[in-house]
Symmetry: C2
Subunit: 605 residues, 2 copies
């Protein structure tokens, strides 16, 4: 039944040979890889305003120059990544590029930063997408966390189905977003400059609580830098493109850059034109759309498109996180199971890991975008900086045609990203960036210890011929609580594997001990019944003590503990059984020289 | 190491014989059992105002008559419970009383209602307690969910330690709350009537959005009825009192009633005097304390006392929920493991179940008291009504001295509670009460199916002599991925229990298949190596198919699958191993005729 369900939800399994068919056209790739970058339009302007508004009316006017500065930063980063894509047609994720050119340790820094940011991308995008929904339907606001978890679950499932079908699912919303926002910006500008008098609401500036210092302007800039997150997605995903991969990827990157620039600057200006300021229960985009379209169907279309692209932006991470994790796993820095492909040619374990960790983050931050965003962007700019530095190093090493020019482009990229990183880390430190700054080194330390462990076990696991020798003595213990069909089958099994079998009864209650002795006599069971006292009602302790005692008697013996278990006819009944067996198994797991066997009895109803 | 940690946190185990020493004095019992009832003072007045304020200024003046009506209801309920305590010195929880006098089904309704309400009590109290903290320290507001989970965890641990020590921990905060609130009310009244001119802030009533209908007034009344939750706690816990149990319990109940009445009416009046209205980020009590004491140390004392008693109010449920669950489990309506006492004479499983489910609720409702409260009180009044009806039935049946008077008291109680229940269910239905009204029948249905299942298995588990016969053929399979010390030990083990042993290799990659065949040849391993193809990269599917094939060949055979597993030297390394073994074990669990044995190899570092 589970299998049928899995097949229905995830689709039939795909053979290993089918992997090359899963390629994306430019149009689909734009939808799949740029949803992250484009969707930041939905919150980046709001984040800038959220900082500026605390310094009063004059400060809010600075939103345009700040947005332009971020636009210039975007152009620099895109020029740098153009070169990365051409140089790494097999996929130039920061981890690969940095490891290749700067060595393993910087590579791990890039890897850890990216993984952190992929998780944050999912949490921020989904929270922000759900904010678009609750802006349009305020009664849903209290349920926003559950709605977020629901959407994360949905994307997780879509990705477990595999990459190509995801592409098809995600193309429509991305293009809907691009078209509807272009219309919003176009009509918004037209109405402002030429249109019939639009009711522009009075601006209600809250009293300024901060002076407009340079630090403050930098903080607003840092907040807006979230607009750049996701720009690197295309360079990570080059192999997913149709041939010629690099060329197609570069064209897609440029398209994405232009669209992002127009939309980000457009929304920022519209907010200024129409005196829109951040509110707790409604997003800036929602407010703009309300003013421009009033509450007609087009307002709801904008909200729907925003919600969809944001929720799908999370999808970019669902493609990149598992892939990066599989590379790290292949190199021995993360658990191996992250590198195995599932039935549907997707890295299932990585997908599930990302789904779970981003859900956790959403819950911890109560799906509040403004509290999540300060954590964001730090990781992105660490990986940008390292990746561009690596490219500079590469050009200098290779000295191929035009290397000096290329090194300069990447050098400017690296320097700009580094300065931006410092700005973000310092201005956002107390607002949450510190968590990421602590988390990334911890993650790297973990990578290194995983790597050390995999290295260590090679020696420990080298087999000897003596390992194949059979044990001198094989004792079997069967913990029982009463005598039923399950116990009987366990006894029959035990007798078939050893001639030293004992039933063990933990006496919690003297009356029942007498009863079990009677049963033993009545049924003429010819294995010894050991009764262990338990004054503290523990079932485990006396059993462990007894095993210790047996092991002291004879060094070279093997003990098998047989646990009679039930398999219930219905899934929910399973919780009514085997809890004690489960506990015994868990504790015995850490006991040397003991093997545990489950002998199961299937219940019919 | 885990054991030492457990002992440090939970204390050394207590012997079964020590159970009777764990009794409470009246003073400690007042603290332990009334924290739930008293703590509702912190939110009940606010909930009334929250409804009234939407109907404008005139409506707010109705808070006093509504509070007085609730006070009268309290007196009626307490008089009823006085009689229950005297009649049930062994503990008159609604489940016991109702089952005794009205039969099993009504008993289950009462049981389900109470369990639901205990979970809600924990969620509401902790959320409201944390709201007191975030009112005093607004920067903590975004972290409220995490703080809630932290406190629920803390109470869970305290209760796993056992009842008497909990009493000692909880006495101080309850008395601190009683004293500080009495001072607050005293000074608040004094300053209002006689004091030097206090700055009474102007009232800012939001524009009325509702007409002041009778339905509306009833809704405000229903909201305030949360003040009565927890009143039944003492009657459930009679056996925990020092002797004479009933008398001590009744005296404690009356004390609790008086204190609750004074505080509830006092706070409601103070809110009216000082024009305090509900705000999103600050509780009503916090606002009152700020006006009366300004922001001095006494303000913070009030907030601390509120937070403490609310968080500890959850403790009442942590005593009652596990006890009720153990009764239901003993009667076969809930899983049996809920009726077993842990090391420290506490029902550990019930405690953990309550901790987990209330945490879940806090997360789902984002720790928002106003969204949780409409779910609350429905269950309480169902159990009040049933329990009082049961008492009426009892008096009529027994016809003991003064039965007519006693039946009248309980009859009035039952009728009043039933009317209140109808008011709550109808006025709060769309605000969340519907969830509880759906959940309780579902819970009862589950009780009944658990009961049915336990009844069903008795026949199925009756052993036959044939169950003890050994199987004709015992085949052993060892799934392997490579040849190492773990594999070698598994082979040695397998050979000691059967002479039909096969190693099974799932070929994901043709190169590695050749390699494993070479190893087999080089090491001269004399068990057959079965290589199974897996075009879809599934490890499970080919293994299952192979087992099916073997089982078809011969009906009466037993198959044991041996899984070589590693036990890592450090806990965190464990996740790097055995994932495949775990998965195989999980799937094989549902395969008839297959036993699974873990043969473990311990890693040294």
């Amino acid at each position: 039944m589970f299998k049928t369900l899995k097949k229905f939800i995830l689709g039939p399994p795909l053979a290993s040979a089918e992997i090359h068919e899963q390629r994306l056209t430019k149009k689909v790739a734009l939808a799949v890889f740029s949803s992250d970058a484009l969707s930041s339009v939905a919150y980046a302007s709001e984040e800038i305003l959220l900082v500026l508004v605390t310094a009063g009316m004059a400060a809010v006017q600075l939103s345009l120059p700040i947005a332009i500065a971020i636009g210039v930063l975007l152009l620099i980063v895109v020029s740098s990544y153009r070169q990365t894509i051409m140089a790494y047609p097999q996929g130039g994720g920061a981890y690969i590029v940095v490891k290749d050119n700067l060595g393993t340790y910087p590579g791990l820094v890039a890897g850890a930063s990216l993984l952190t940011d992929y998780i944050l991308t999912v949490s921020v995008s989904v929270s922000s997408g759900v904010a678009a929904i609750t802006s349009a339907f305020p009664p849903l606001y209290p349920y926003r966390i559950v709605i977020c978890i629901f959407f994360i679950g949905l994307i997780t499932l879509a990705n477990l189905r595999g990459i190509k079908e995801s592409g098809a699912i995600f193309a429509v919303p991305t293009y809907l977003f691009i078209v509807s926002f272009t219309v919003l910006i176009g009509i918004g500008f037209y109405k402002y400059f030429f249109g019939p008098a639009v009711m522009i609401p009075e601006a209600h500036y809250p009293p300024a609580s901060h002076a407009l210092t340079y630090f403050f302007i930098l903080r607003a800039f840092a907040s807006g830098c979230t607009a750049l997150t996701g720009v690197e997605a295309i360079s990570d995903g080059v192999p997913a493109f149709k041939k010629p991969e690099s060329r197609n990827a570069v064209v897609t990157l440029l398209w994405m850059c232009v669209i992002l620039l127009v939309m980000f600057l457009g929304i920022t200006e519209l907010a200024r034109f129409y005196h829109v300021l951040p509110k707790e229960h409604e997003t800036v985009v929602s407010q703009i759309a309300r003013v421009v379209f009033h509450e007609g169907p087009f307002y709801y279309l904008i909200q729907a498109a925003t919600a969809m692209i944001l929720i799908l932006a999370a999808n970019t991470s669902f493609m990149d996180f598992p892939r990066l994790a599989s590379w790290l796993a292949r190199d021995g820095f993360m658990p191996r199971q992250l590198s195995s492909m599932g039935d549907r040619l997707a890295f299932s374990n990585g997908i599930i890991l990302l789904g779970v960790s981003s859900s956790l983050l959403v819950v911890l931050f109560a799906a509040n975008t403004h509290h999540l965003i300060p954590l964001y962007a730090v990781g992105v700019f660490i990986s940008f900086t390292l990746s561009q530095t690596a490219m500079v190093r590469r050009w200098i090493k290779l000295k191929s045609k035009g290397w000096a020019r290329k090194a300069t482009v990447n050098g400017i990229g690296a320097a700009t990203c580094f300065i931006t990183l410092m700005v973000i880390a310092s201005t956002k430190f107390i607002h949450g960036a510190w968590m990421v700054i602590i988390f990334i080194p911890m993650l790297i330390a973990w990578f290194l210890s995983v790597h050390g462990h995999y290295h260590n076990i090679i020696d420990q696991l080298h087999p000897d011929l003596t390992d194949l020798l059979p044990p001198k003595l094989h004792r079997v213990l069967i913990p029982i609580s009463t005598f039923h069909k399950g116990t009987a089958k366990a006894i029959s099994y035990a007798l078939s594997i050893s001639n030293d079998v004992r039933a063990v009864y933990i006496a919690l209650d003297p009356e029942r001990s007498v009863k079990i002795k009677d049963i033993w006599k009545n049924w003429c069971i010819d294995i010894p019944l050991v009764i262990l006292e338990s004054p503290y009602r523990s079932i485990i302790r006396p059993l462990l003590d007894y095993i210790d005692q047996l092991q002291k008697e004879d060094e070279d013996q093997l003990i098998t503990v047989i646990l009679p278990e039930f398999v219930a006819a219905k899934w929910w009944q399973q919780i009514l059984h085997n809890q004690t067996a489960l506990m015994i198994r868990g504790i015995l797991m850490f006991k040397q020289g003991v093997s545990v066997t489950s002998v199961r009895h299937f219940l019919k109803y």
